[in-house]
């Protein structure tokens, strides 16, 4: 079996007293293969956490079906639980009075691990995250980043087949985020039967880690593809930013006419140097050579040029219709 998770037509309705039923998921379908890091992207209230809760057996679907490693999360949840682990960002779970080592040992026992095996893995992973020296510190004395590293170790120590990461780098500094991302990537590479489901607010994180991402909004999957594919689908044209020493409107019209239909040129100015700056949307990448020749023909000297790559955020913008941060501010908390 190559499918770690299969989600078929998943719906979840929350009935709240005095308000209309809230449709958190409306027929969501996707699958995740072993060896894959799969991302779920979407603003707050989109349905990401609801999906994770259903997949991790904490919530029942209203309709639809989810299997993890071939087991139905609704009926066979006792078979699912030994195979999964859940790490949520910003969580303060555990017991503050325990040391890091004790806390991790305690959770390993909830998975029935032998103590000597658990201790060896705890040592291994604490060293990987750079927290071996803090193993005897009490949990309530740790910083947010350290606590999140311990949470990650907690999730990995039990060697799950499927790891659910719900905003794992939320509130964590850059350095700790990089460590967490590297560990997750290496962990999946280590064994082919492992997979990760990641929800994140950080587009760059999803772009860097995920082999596929699904963009979800208002309980619907809007797209499901590799990040590179999503970006490519966004626009097939090539985009360049070119700064020159001089260029006026007449010269631009001349160049535009020479470039032919489908190639758009927009003239502005560099914010720092105030030099004329041209943003070119070209039908073919090879058209850049013609453009540079045309610029030279008008007597403009090239000062700076860069190719503009579409980002995952651009893809999100296209799908959801708003900038991610705007969605964040506007959405109700789910």
């Amino acid at each position: 079996m190559h499918t770690a998770i299969q989600v078929e037509n998943l719906s979840r309705v929350f009935n709240r007293r005095g308000t209309a039923p809230f449709h958190a998921l409306r027929g969501v379908s996707f699958d995740v293969s072993y060896g894959e890091i799969f991302g779920l992207l979407g603003p707050n209230g989109a349905g990401k956490t609801t999906t994770i809760k259903i997949m991790s057996t904490l919530l029942l679907p209203t309709s639809g079906r989810v299997t993890v490693a071939g087991f139905d999360v609704e009926k066979d949840y006792t078979h699912v639980r030994p195979l999964i682990s859940l790490i949520s960002g910003g969580e303060t779970s555990g017991y503050g009075i325990l040391t890091v080592e004790e806390q991790l040992w305690m959770f390993s026992q909830f998975y029935g691990m032998e103590t000597h095996v658990a201790r060896a893995r705890i040592e291994e992973y604490l060293k990987v995250v750079g927290m071996w020296d803090s193993r005897r510190q009490q949990m309530n004395r740790l910083s947010t980043g350290m606590r999140q590293k311990v949470n990650l170790v907690r999730g990995l120590v039990t060697d799950p087949k499927v790891l659910f990461l719900d905003e794992p780098t939320l509130g964590v500094d850059v350095e700790a985020s990089v460590i967490i991302r590297n560990i997750v990537r290496d962990w999946v590479r280590e064994k082919p039967e492992r997979s990760v489901i990641l929800t994140t607010h950080y587009m760059a994180e999803a772009d860097e880690l995920c082999s596929r991402v699904a963009i979800i909004n208002h309980g619907l999957i809007l797209a499901n593809a590799a990040p590179s594919q999503l970006k490519q689908d966004l626009d097939s044209r090539a985009h360049y930013e070119i700064t020159v020493d001089r260029l006026d409107g007449d010269q631009l019209d001349h160049i535009t006419a020479s470039m032919g239909e489908g190639n758009d040129l927009v003239l502005g100015s560099d914010k720092v140097t105030q030099s004329p700056m041209l943003v070119a949307h070209l039908m073919h990448e090879s058209d850049i050579a013609r453009l540079i020749t045309a610029l030279a023909g008008q007597g403009a000297t090239l000062e700076y040029m860069r190719k503009l790559e579409p980002t995952l955020e651009d893809a999100f913008l296209k799908m959801v219709g708003k900038r991610f941060e705007d969605e964040e501010e506007a959405s109700p908390v789910s």
Binding site: T57, L58, R81, E91, I97, F107, F110, Y111
Partner: protein, 271 residues
């Protein structure tokens, strides 16, 4: 089967560890437990002196004072624990793990009982050493058996209650707070339960401390005559109650977990 049993025992051990060793780090509880035990004992002794009931009564209330902390622990340490675990964000991690909820609760019970023992022993110590209350040690092994069976039955009841806390939030917590003291009174902590009349005792007997205390008083206080039933019958009933509670608890935890998963209550905080 062996794997399941090992998982149960490992979970039990780990959860009990938090209660026993984790709490030891905060030394204040030792002082508080001993002082609390002393004040409980002082209250009982002087209250009964004021009532003029005779010295034999003080032996009965020392035993009541000995059992009360366990009763409190069942209600606050076991029954409400799933509510607190949910509020702390631990419940979802416990549920996502393969360990059964009952293993967490039994671990909590074992840890809680050992933690509570200090206060109970402090009550006993002050009763015997300071206030010269006398007990017979002739039936000490039997009394120990009754005590352990009472604990088994009482913590079984606590686990039944805990399933309610899995679904409900502050409403269950408030209800427990409301019934705690009346239940403690009715179970005969402050006086022989027989004085309540058979009707009330019949209802109060559903709380294992009622018959457990009565049996302990028969075995440890020679002058005690106002018993509810012979201690042998009481022991049998307590075993029966314990078994029934364990069965109900195991069914209720599964049923309520399903209901809570369906109604999105498992991770609902500040409920």
């Amino acid at each position: 089967m062996k794997k399941k049993l090992l998982l149960f025992l490992r979970t039990l051990n780990a959860r009990a560890y938090v209660r026993i060793f984790g709490q030891m780090r905060e030394a204040t509880w030792v002082v508080a437990s001993v002082l609390g035990g002393f004040f409980t004992m002082t209250t009982y002794i002087y209250l009964y002196r004021t009532l003029g009931t005779g010295s034999e009564f003080t032996g009965l209330v020392v035993l009541g004072g000995f059992m009360t902390p366990f009763f409190m622990n069942v209600l606050w340490g076991v029954a409400t624990q799933l509510y607190w675990e949910k509020e702390m964000g631990n419940l979802e991690l416990m549920l996502v793990s393969p360990a059964p909820l009952s293993a967490f609760l039994v671990g909590l019970s074992v840890g809680g009982a050992m933690h509570t023992m200090l206060r109970s022993l402090a009550v006993l110590f002050f009763g015997i050493a300071v206030f010269k209350v006398q007990f017979t040690v002739l039936h000490l092994p039997l009394a120990l058996l009754v005590f352990l069976v009472t604990l088994f039955s009482m913590y079984g009841l606590g686990i039944v209650f805990s399933s309610l806390f899995l679904y409900h939030g502050r409403d269950a917590w408030r209800t427990a707070d409301l019934v705690m003291e009346p239940t403690n009174v009715l179970s005969g902590s402050y006086f022989p339960a027989r004085f309540l009349g058979l009707g009330l005792v019949g209802i109060a007997a559903l709380i294992p401390t009622t018959l457990g205390l009565d049996a302990l008083r028969q075995l440890l206080v020679p002058s005690f005559t106002v018993k509810v039933l012979d201690w042998r019958w009481e022991l049998l009933i307590l075993i029966g109650l314990g078994v029934v509670f364990v069965f109900i608890a195991s069914w209720a935890l599964r049923a309520v977990e399903y209901k809570a998963r369906r109604d999105a209550r498992l991770t609902l905080r500040w409920q």
